[in-house]
């Protein structure tokens, strides 16, 4: 939108009408918004005008006056059922398409782990860089957030990107976006989560890719999630059963991420983030066929962040096998 206000314009600084468009999705969302605003304005004004005109034109002239006997019209009823229906279906289809686009992450999106807890947002980048209540992302590159919560439901919301997803304890949720405009944008928690809900906010900084690389290099980097996960894998003695050569008491983990496994008692499960998480905290729930239910639960022994690191490691085992190191920055 070329006519849209410039962010620097002094006059509108404190009188904003419209949020910044800073992601590839934002324009799509705003297009529906403008369409619907137009429809709403049209029908509201139409009804208001008719009501006002009728109320004046047919005002009561004398006390005993009664209205003209009109009981209805099937044709009109059908007309004003059909036209709204058509408009509604356009809105439905358009909205659904945008929604699906916004929830189907492109392959090769850069992944960042996010953990919400009362009342802060923790993020960890693929190379191990961590930040709290901040998120730095490169411009022009799809970024996928894999999000979990340590306590109650939160919701990760970046208005300038028009994205939002609830962050739910006990499972993962994701959202993705491609930032298009460098800048600093609000980050909000949108799901009420307790006393300092309105303090669970921060900033998302979109940077040129080169700056982003510099930023990654500049901070005090801890071990990457994959490396941290590998260390945990050994420290927690997962490696004593999940042997790589197939002779262990647990299933071989390399090459299984994203695949289907046969379960004991019938059925199958896709090995994804949710399944790996469940297997760590509630290992008896879905046993792979041919194995004994002997794995103890690690619930309470590992934090949400550590589970995410373990998942990153397990996933990396499959990516090495496939020879496609996706999900690392700069690839």
């Amino acid at each position: 939108m070329r006519w849209r206000r410039s962010t620097d314009s002094k006059m509108f600084k404190n009188f904003p009408f419209f949020p910044e468009q800073a992601s590839a999705q934002a324009a799509q969302v705003d297009a529906i918004y403008f369409f619907m605003v137009a429809v709403t304005a049209f029908f509201s004004l139409l009804i208001a005008a008719l009501v006002v005109v009728f109320a004046i034109k047919y005002r009561r002239r004398h006390d005993a006056e009664i209205g003209v006997a009109i009981h209805g019209s099937i044709a009109l009823e059908l007309l004003w059922s059909f036209i709204p229906l058509v408009i509604a279906m356009v809105m439905f289809g358009w909205g659904a398409k945008v929604f699906f686009d916004m929830y189907r992450p492109p392959a090769g999106a850069m992944e960042i782990f996010v953990v919400g807890k009362q009342w802060m947002w923790k993020a960890q980048h693929a190379d191990g860089m961590r930040e709290i209540n901040e998120l730095h992302v490169p411009v022009g590159r799809p970024v996928k957030l894999i999000m979990g919560s340590e306590d109650v439901i939160h919701s990760y919301y970046i208005p300038a990107f028009r994205v939002k997803a609830d962050v739910i304890p006990g499972r993962y949720n994701s959202l993705w976006f491609t930032a298009t405009k460098p800048g600093r944008y609000h980050l909000f928690c949108a799901e009420y989560c307790g006393t300092k809900h309105s303090g669970m906010i921060g900033w998302v900084t979109a940077m040129e890719p080169a700056e982003y690389q510099a930023w990654l290099g500049g901070g005090s980097t801890t071990a990457s999630p994959i490396a941290a996960g590998e260390k945990l894998f050994n420290d927690l003695a997962c490696s004593t059963c999940h042997l790589a050569n197939g002779t262990g008491r647990g299933p071989v983990l390399s090459g299984i991420f994203g695949k289907n496994v046969e379960l004991q008692g019938g059925g199958s499960a896709t090995v994804d983030e949710a399944y790996v998480r469940e297997s760590i905290v509630n290992p008896q729930a879905k046993i792979v066929n041919g194995f004994q239910p002997i794995m103890p639960t690690f619930q309470g022994l590992v934090t949400e962040e550590q589970i995410l690191q373990l998942i990153a490691y397990v996933r990396s085992l499959s990516q090495q096998a496939a020879g496609a190191p996706a999900g690392t920055p700069g690839s």
Partner: protein
Amino acid sequence: METVSYLNDGHGLKSWLLTKDHKRIALLYLVSITAFFGMGGLFAMFIRLELLTPAGDLLQAETYNKMFTMHGVVMVFFFLIPSIPAVLGNFLIPIMIGAKDLAFPRINLISWYIYILGGTFTFVAALSGGVDTGWTFYTPYSTAAANSHVVTAALGIFITGFSSILTGLNFIVTIHRMRAPGLTWFRLPLFVWAHYATSLIMILGTPVIAITVLLVGAERVLHLGFFDPALGGDPVLFQHLFWFYSHPAVYIMILPAMGVMSEIIQAFSRKNIFGYTFVAFSSLAIAIIGFLVWGHHLFVAGQSVYAGLIFSFISFLVAIPSAIKVFNWTATIYKGSISLESPMLYALGFIGLFTIGGLTGLFLSTMGLDIHMHDTYFVVAHFHYIMVGGAIMGYLGGLHYWWPKITGRIYAEIPARIAAGLVFIGFNLTFFPQFIAGYLGMPRRYHEYPPELQVWNVMSSAGASILAVGYAIPLFYLTYSLFAGEKSGADPWGAKGLEWEIPSPPPTSNFEVTPIVTHGTHQYEPSREVGIA
């Protein structure tokens, strides 16, 4: 000697507190919901004062959270849901169908006591420190994290639910079994149709919220695992169960108001409703389809995108019967004999506000758009356009329209028109800016907010003060009319319907003889030979 009416047939507190007369019970409700409206309004005032500035400088964060929670709980469960059905519906349904009372007068009184008992629990919860979960009681916050009086408040809601169930049950049985001879379904006033549809939701939906808050209580107190992931539960299941009731509950609030609108618009246009059967069936359609759309509250809550698709689709369908109503009301005014007395001002205001409220609901049913708007002030503005711009305008319009029937007195018209105007202006100034703040990304339930959003919040708070004045004025002139109002005849408006054929205020048994109905109750034209335009 004064004529005997339900008002002077028995004196003293006991004759009121033990009455089985539906008209007196309606007045018991009128007094109690007005008290709760005042209470909810007070909480709203604190919210709007706090939000005058971006910083959280008036209230502690926790106090603020309790304010919006109590505002929601009180307004939803103790004002909006009982408002029109329990006051106007209770008073008018038996009269409109030519019956002497509801089918179960004793249950009717019991349901008022249940309402008061539930209200007491909620009141105690508020006084003893409040509850801070939001009126939605989302788990696991409400069961595992919140450190406030969740159980007391939940119990209040659980108990009050039975009041709503019993009222709905009474209406359904009454409408089926107590109609006067000849009063067939398609001769029923649209107000009765609307209440029939409302009652369906009350009996089908309310039990589900009852069991849901019971499970929340059991999880919180007994640590039974239902919704908390730490206990193996799924918090999204709570949201399904909660909205299975709480979305249709919005229709409990708006359908009776739509019924009131149909009555007022006919009366002040002196004209039959345009498309009676469409208006009547659209009430039923809204009630039934309304049960299939709850998942549009869960688009970003981790619900499957495919389930979201179904919910979005059906949400668009439920908009059609609402659109039909709006168009039919507008067409009813066409070539009417329009008189802009205060009830009609509320009615015309309702049409405008409900149109905006309904259309902005479509924004939120649009999946791609809802990602951005979910849980922002856009949602807050939308549902206030429905609940305040719709339901409360309907309630006030109805109260003014039937006030002469209820009390036998005429209120002062000039202040009534001023109040109606102030409510309309104040309402729009309060809530329209919230649409803009919402699209800018201001999340709801925020105690502090980014400074650039202040201008919209100041407007909103300013509007709220006008709205408060608009709501306060009727208290004075309506009360004044009780003592000094001119006596109204049986039919001060020249309106049609069985209720206008009996004296004002009505005698205790409503009708001396059971009326026999031979044509629609709202026949305005002198001749019955009318064609279809």
